[in-house]
Symmetry: D3
Subunit: 145 residues, 6 copies
């Protein structure tokens, strides 16, 4: 979706990404990188007695992995403005495979560039929605040939 | 801020975190982990000719690092509900040192637990605000002695 | 324990840390970082025929992970002087969850700062002691208000 | 030194390792792995105003890197017993190149195997001693042909 | 190039990838992952006195990074058969930005699938060729609509 | 084999390396480092329905790990020239333990240094050959005492 210029996208343009299995290794690496070692993610004894019954992925891990699942094309993305209504609706467990479904829900022409609003759902292999978010991204227009 | 139980926090409770210098290594590691190799983050030639003039950190890198800067106490955090009004307001360059300033702006008692709303600002060593966001987190109440 | 100034600690002050599950990923990452690929840690065939019957964590991995389990407060720790009587008393297997129990056993006032001696035990979820050590750390005194 | 069987080593056997440059990336990776983000290692602003004037490597990082510099031979090392008199005598800065100098100072025959005591010095490219330690390691005897 | 089915590619089809800056962090991470700590890659003192005058990236690091620069589409690639005439023709230094130029030089129809032969050149920002190689890859044919 | 000078090796000199278990963590780390997230390596659902029935290691992961299994001695290796006839003959699954068997098949004296040709086989714990390759490496001659 971020591999197309502003003028190549329409409201209603949709994309489904490839999948990525979230592994124990991902939980360890993200705990390490972020510094967020909250025991729900890193202590299997603690997690076993939590409401989830096992370790769960960090919400921000899932959101971060999603950014890499969406194809991007050099020269297209100008800037990432922000997100709204980010909701973590189901936990992601070790071994789950996530994918990103995205749809353009608004586009605003700003002259030299444009801003698109994307509704993004992160789903797992059981088709449960793990996360929903609204993203705003500034995109370049297609260069003249 | 997430090292206190729901009933130990008040609207207006504030916290300023320690700092973390965002290094070139962080950009490489986050590109690797997330799979987001957009050339603004990973190609110094491309970035030099961008509006930023140099490589910048991924927005999600900065948000992820912020989660690890906020002290958390095992047993306190029940679940991370989501975020609103996430805005990337200034770029983070290699070598910048970020910190997190957070303030409780709302709290809702849900019976066995509570939900706090936190206004979070990520600032750099020049006191520029890089990111603002509203977070919603479910917290446990303090266990009876 | 390292989140308190020298004059806030007494001989006998104790702390029990949160837990961290030592994963296969931790063994791989520490082998990679340290360069110590001894097959007891990295070759499951070799390890199966060793006295341990399976791969074990590096002693230094366990000691390193312990440093991150002990809460530290910026401005408190002046320098890490060293360790004595470091003994690896039980192996740590993949999936074990370790915690750190520490007690101040001596404190010496050095004028502007102080040096504490800490007896540290690393235990697993079966309450076996995996490592014992005596640490010496220089701490700042509490700044005047 | 750990690439020789117990009966191939004598009191006085010495070894000098290859070098390893400790990079900013190593500081970030070790902070991440260990969870020890103390700002002397990770916050360049804080470190600039410390007695060291810049970020320094974690003592345990240096000790861990040393374990990978000492050649080991599969089948030789039986177990790592522990360390005594571990002293961090000089800081390691980003860009320093360390090497390990080791000498067998005692050997005890235990029947099927033996235990050696090694005096280890970690030095940098300025020949400053960064760390000294006494290590005890159980080694196998050379198998009959 | 590997984002197209066998029947969508012709002999002569070409692709130029995005760039990736090879950082000090990449050298450290690849040394760690591979276990190849040869001092030309990891000891800045040793490297300074070598014929290269500074640390150089591992040949296999450059080849590995190239695999991630070539776009791939799920369902297209069946298997990676191998490589011929892999030659490391210029060193890659810290800070160099590499890209991959690839051209299909042969295609063989195998019935249900096909095998393409690709001539690949890895170039840096000075347009020096760092590596040349011939790759053989089995690709699926485009599924019927 | 790369721990001996050119004049210490003969055509026919052989070496068998230690083993390394290829873990799920290795697949995740190599996908991350290389940027090659092809779903055969990273999506357990996709891989389950492939001809392999499960995730397989990247060919380049296996080749890269092999470079770290071959002992190298500082001062011996001058440069890595390249590879020929690299063939991936069997998949490497998570949990497989690989080793490298190498034999010098040619040596050429170049005056100040020499070039050896090595036939390398990477085998797993079932003695299946996963990869064969011919490597060319420039080695120094033994320095005069």
């Amino acid at each position: 979706m971020l591999d197309k210029y502003f003028d190549e996208l329409e409201v209603g343009s949709r994309n489904v990404s490839r999948g990525r299995t979230i592994t124990e290794s991902d939980l360890v690496m993200f705990s390490a990188f972020s510094g967020d070692w909250y025991p729900l993610h890193t202590d299997s004894e603690y997690a076993a007695s939590s409401i989830f019954g096992q370790r769960i992925a960090h919400g921000m891990l899932v959101l971060s992995a999603a950014t890499g699942l969406v194809p991007m094309k050099p020269g297209v993305v100008l800037a990432f403005y922000g997100m709204d209504k980010v909701r973590f609706t189901s936990p992601t467990f070790i071994g789950d495979t996530i994918r990103v479904e995205a749809e353009v829900v608004d586009k605003r022409d700003k002259g030299d560039f444009g801003v698109i609003t994307v509704r993004q759902e992160i789903k797992n292999q059981r088709n449960e929605v793990c996360n929903t978010a609204i993203l705003k991204v500034a995109l370049n227009k297609k260069p003249a040939a």
